[in-house]
Structure formats: structure tokens, C-alpha cells
Symmetry: C2
Subunit: 355 residues, 2 copies
């Protein structure tokens, strides 16, 4: 059904160009600039949408400043703001990708505005019903990445959406995360196929009959940290709550360890001696390590960065956008969905939930 | 509408009697026996449903063994098993409470079988649509308990159920957890009232108009660890996933700290010196500290213990059952629901979601 997959930009050895919404970052200008420079040093061309007065010093062969002073805030209703404010940094950056001047979008700004601008400008892949926001779940000592989706693009989902998320996640994990033929789990309250909400039971049945992906059954909340799968599928409400719960719990336990190490001179000495060995744990749990989430199911690459990113987080969200372009994430997603006919089968499998 | 609240058993100074399903425990007999003895030492009478041959040594003025050899396993379908197997430990223990020989039920066995047996034997409070499973969420350094419900009684919920859960949780927190007039949060993906699934947005609106409880708006996943509320309401699917996610994340971070402390001689010395100060963290995150969850909305007390409980967990689930009886948890729940008319208003508020 889909058009033949185009050759991914960057495939020829030309640098990939990322449109970066610099106004969305919460970090200080210096930190944002440092992150942009780090990414540019990796042979990524960057078009920075932010005030020329602020970012002029960054301009180089690799980095171009597109003077932009308006932005959409976290408190604005995304659809209305994106529709009515074409001069804002996120809308202009997304339009830059749609016009072919940039190959991918990255923004640490309002998640809702970034998703909306990306959806409007880049459009859905044919037969994808809903795009989904995917993110690598942080975990201490994890050897293989775990991709969870949807973590917030759709607060309500149908079973057919969850089935499609399994394909979107599989294609991205294979293309960009180095996980060929990843196992896909469905988040539920028990491993048995009949466990879960009506939505999840229906999705389980449809996924069991699906081809072209490797469905491994249900996974539980406790399995997210040390899972037998590489991709976990859930609705955007549950995924968002779970992601924030993991971040909050890990931070709280880390804080408790730090408090313990300040509780007296003996503990403080212990903390100092243990500190270097804990470096890996800190790195594993650092949201800046991945840079952010990616909106899958679109005809272009859009990375939704952490608003609170430091320089490494800024650099990594631009790198993730560039890598997704280089590895042909969109084209491979289109191929997988076309090959397995999931656009049709997912809709068939979920007819019971159409309202 | 409800009958006048009866005087809680145990109020007169007589010991409360707890029917305990000893066959449900995964722990060794010695550990189960030790837990029962610990609880009995707190002036709780216990009727132990388990093999006389195994538990005879426990018999005392406080502890009676009710010889029972059959049990319902985790792999059995709860409703069918409870209906068809009246001689099993959980069904006999629940019947013991219904018959008035015991004042409360506690079981570390199959969660599904325990909830089903309790619901069938103890019945719902008049005008409560669905019972909900409530549990104290573990968190490091938490000063006030946080009660979350539902964590698994209902995989699918309507807005009117969530509204009732707010009342069930408020009454229990006030009666048993020492939290008079607790603030109630609704778990969502953002604090704004329009954020969340259709279910949550509808529940938010109904809760805003509710009386007799203190609704504090939405809370997010990250707020569960250090919340501005004492009660968090969610559907049983999300609650179950979130609870297991917190347990899994905390365990993984704790394991990573232990691994770091084994990574070399300097780190090991640090770990030894820090170890005593970390005792509080271990205790805070120990599921045995609370003993388990409680099924709210019934006309009697039913505690659903952790299957993996050690002696402290066994003792604490029996203590939680006894305390709930002494503090009149059921009677206070009936009073609150009666006074605020939530049986009626919740149904009105949720008319849009009736199918």
C-alpha cells in the first residue's frame, strides 16, 4: 500500500541535519550551547531555532542559527497554540523538516506542543492509526535497552492501537537500538493471557496472532526493570504514569542513599569510598543518557527531549534524531508495517472495540 | 440508608479474633509459626486454618488450630475454585468471619482467591459498587503513610468506582492509619484537570464536586514517592502495574548499590561503613513492614497478605486485620459513605460512563 521506501538522508555520507528548538530548553543558554556543540562535533548539522542575539556565537559550518524569538509554553493548549502561532520555534522547526531543509526534529520544549507540531508537519505513516511516544526505560545495570511505548501520546487507546505500537516499537528497536528481532511484551497485571483490563486482554489475543514481530506475552510492572523482552507496549496513560514512577522511585532511593551517607562521620567515610563504584548506577539512571523520547509512526523523525536536559541531554536528543535518520527508522517502520499488513489486520483484530 | 453502625468487636477490650489462612503462605512452616506467635503476643486471638499435624505446636489460649488440609493455588481460576471447594483454607477462614467466630480475615495466599472468598462471604457495604484493594506504598524516608487504591481488585473501572474508592480510602486512612481528614489525589499524567484518560477526566470532575472528603486534584507517577496527599485513587490495572513498578525499581536500585559494594576492596569497605545507616532505607522498602493490602468496601475486614511474607510480614498482616477491627474501619466507612451520599452522587456523577 505505502509508497516505496525512500533512501534515508545521510545514507550517502552527507551529514544529517537536525532542526533543534532551542527555545524549549529549560537549561541556561551556556548549557544549551554546549549540548549543541557536542552534537555538532559528531558530524551532525544543526539548524538552531532560537534568538540570533543569544546563539550567534554557535554559528559555524555545522550550525546555523534561524532567528526565532517566540515559543509555546508548557501551559498552552498544544493544538490551539500550534495552529495559531506559526512563528514559534517548535512550529518553525517542524516546518523546516516538512520542507526538506532539515532531516529531523528535536525539541526539549513542551511535550504536547512538540508532538502536535510534529504530527501536523510530518504526518502519519499510511495505515498507522496513532503515533506513539517511545522511550528507553532507565534501569541499573541493564545490558540491553528496553523500549516502552506509548508513554504519553494517547491517553486512551484501542486494542488495534496497541497492536500497531508493537510494530512501531519493533521496527525502531531493530533499526536504531541495535536489537534485531526484538521480543515484544504487553504490560499487564499478570502473565496469563486472560489477565488485565478488557483492552489488554483483547490486544493480547490480537498480538498472539500477529506476524512479522516476536510477541512474548504479558509482562508485569516488576519485570520492567529486568525484562525478558526488549519492547514493552502499553497505552499512553499507563506508560506515562509508569515512566514517571520509575524515575521518581529511583531518584528517591538514590536520595536516601545520599542521606544515609551524610548521617554521621562513619557513614560519610563509607559513602566516599563507595562513591566511585556507584558512578555506573548514576549514569544508568540519568535521563540525559538517552536524551528523550521519540514519536513513532510519523513520516519523519521527531525527538521529544527532556525539558530538564543538561548539555549531555541536549546533545543526546540531537544525536538520537540524527541516528534515527541515518538508520532509516521511518523507512524500516514503513517496510515492516507494509510487509505484515498490520494496518489491515490490526483494524480487523480490534473491530470489537470500535465505538 | 445503611443500618446503624454496630459497635466494633474488640472495642470492649476483648481480644480481636483473626481467621488466618496458614496454607496460603509460601514461607516455611517455622517462619509462618513465628509470625503467628508474634501477632498472638500482641493480644490478638488467631484461628489458624492449616494442618493440625503441622501447626499443633502453636495451640495456646490465644491460638486455635482449625485442621484444614486443602488449599486454592495461585494457578486456579478464583471464582470457580472458591465456589466449588468449600473445604479449602481460604473459603473456611472467610466463612469463619461470616459466621461471627472470627472478626477478620487474613491470608497470604492467592490474591484472587482471597478477594473472591472475602467478597462472597463478607458481602459489599450497601451502596458500594465495587470493593477495592488498598495498600500502603513503600517509599524511602516517608513520614506519613500513602494509601493507594485500587491496586488490583478491578482491572476495569468506571468513574463512579474511582469516586467511591476516594471515600473508601479516606475512611480507612482516617480510621486505621492515623490520618484524619486525608487529602485524596487522583493518579493521572498531569496535574491539570483535563489531563488524563477519558475515565480520569470524568472522575476528576465528579471528585471536584464531592463532599465529605478532601480532594486535592491529580497527582503524577513521580509524586507517588513524595506526595502532597495521603490517599491516591486509580483503577486496579494502573494501580497494580504501578505498585509492582515501585517494588521492582526499588529492589533493582538496592541491588545495584550492593553490587557496587562488592566491586572491589575499597568499595567493599565503604559499603560496610555505610551499611548501618542504610538500615532505615531497607526497612522503609520492606514489603513485610505493612504485611499486605486490605480489601475495602466489604462488611468485614479482609487482609490480602504478601505471598512471600516472612515472619514479620505474617505478623503484620494479622496485626493490620486486628487493628482494622479495633478501629472500626468498616463502621467508619459505612458512616462516611452514608453521610456524604456517595452511593447516589457517584452514580449520578458517572452517568456518562454507564454502558
Amino acid at each position: 500500500m505505502g509508497a516505496p521506501a525512500a533512501r534515508p538522508p545521510g545514507d550517502s555520507g552527507d551529514p544529517v541535519t537536525v532542526a533543534f528548538d532551542a527555545l524549549g530548553a529549560e537549561a541556561e543558554t551556556d548549557a544549551v550551547s554546549e549540548g549543541i556543540r557536542m552534537a555538532a562535533a559528531d558530524d551532525i548539522a544543526i539548524r538552531v531555532f532560537g534568538p540570533a542575539a543569544t546563539f550567534a556565537g554557535l554559528a559555524s559550518d555545522q550550525v546555523e542559527i534561524v532567528d526565532t524569538v517566540e515559543m509555546i509554553g508548557n501551559d498552552e493548549e498544544p493544538v490551539r497554540a500550534v495552529r495559531s502561532r506559526p512563528e514559534t520555534s517548535i512550529v518553525r522547526a517542524a516546518a523546516d523538516v516538512a520542507a526538506g531543509r532539515s532531516d529531523a526534529l528535536a525539541s526539549p520544549g513542551s511535550t504536547g506542543a512538540t508532538m502536535t507540531a510534529a504530527l501536523f508537519a510530518l504526518k502519519r505513516i499510511r495505515s498507522v492509526q496513532r503515533p506513539a511516544l517511545a522511550v528507553e526505560i532507565p534501569a541499573p545495570g541493564r545490558e540491553r535497552p528496553l523500549l516502552m511505548l506509548d508513554v504519553g501520546a494517547n491517553a486512551d487507546a484501542r486494542a488495534s492501537h496497541l497492536v500497531q505500537f508493537a510494530y512501531l516499537g519493533s521496527a525502531f528497536a531493530a533499526a536504531v537500538l541495535g536489537l534485531p528481532d526484538p521480543r515484544v511484551g504487553l504490560l499487564s497485571v499478570g502473565t496469563e493471557e486472560k489477565k488485565g483490563s478488557a483492552l489488554v486482554v483483547e490486544a493480547h489475543e490480537a498480538l498472539r496472532g500477529s506476524t512479522g514481530i516476536r510477541f512474548a506475552g504479558n509482562v508485569e510492572g516488576r519485570d520492567l526493570i529486568d525484562p525478558e523482552v526488549e519492547v514493552v507496549v502499553t497505552d499512553g496513560f499507563t506508560g506515562n504514569v509508569v515512566l514517571k514512577t520509575i524515575e521518581g522511585t529511583a531518584r528517591a532511593v538514590g536520595d536516601a542513599v545520599r542521606r544515609a551517607a551524610r548521617s554521621g562521620p562513619i557513614a560519610a567515610t563509607g559513602g566516599l569510598l563507595l562513591r566511585p563504584a556507584l558512578g555506573g548506577l548514576r549514569a544508568d539512571m540519568d535521563p540525559d543518557a538517552t536524551g528523550g523520547a521519540i514519536l513513532l509512526g510519523l513520516r519523519g523523525v521527531a525527538v521529544v527531549g527532556h525539558g530538564s536536559s543538561g548539555p549531555l541531554g541536549i546533545a543526546n536528543q540531537i544525536r538520537l534524531a540524527a541516528r534515527s535518520v541515518r538508520e532509516g527508522a521511518v523507512e524500516r517502520t514503513e517496510e515492516l508495517i507494509e510487509r505484515s499488513g498490520v494496518g489491515r489486520s490490526a483494524i480487523r483484530g480490534a473491530k470489537g472495540s470500535e465505538s
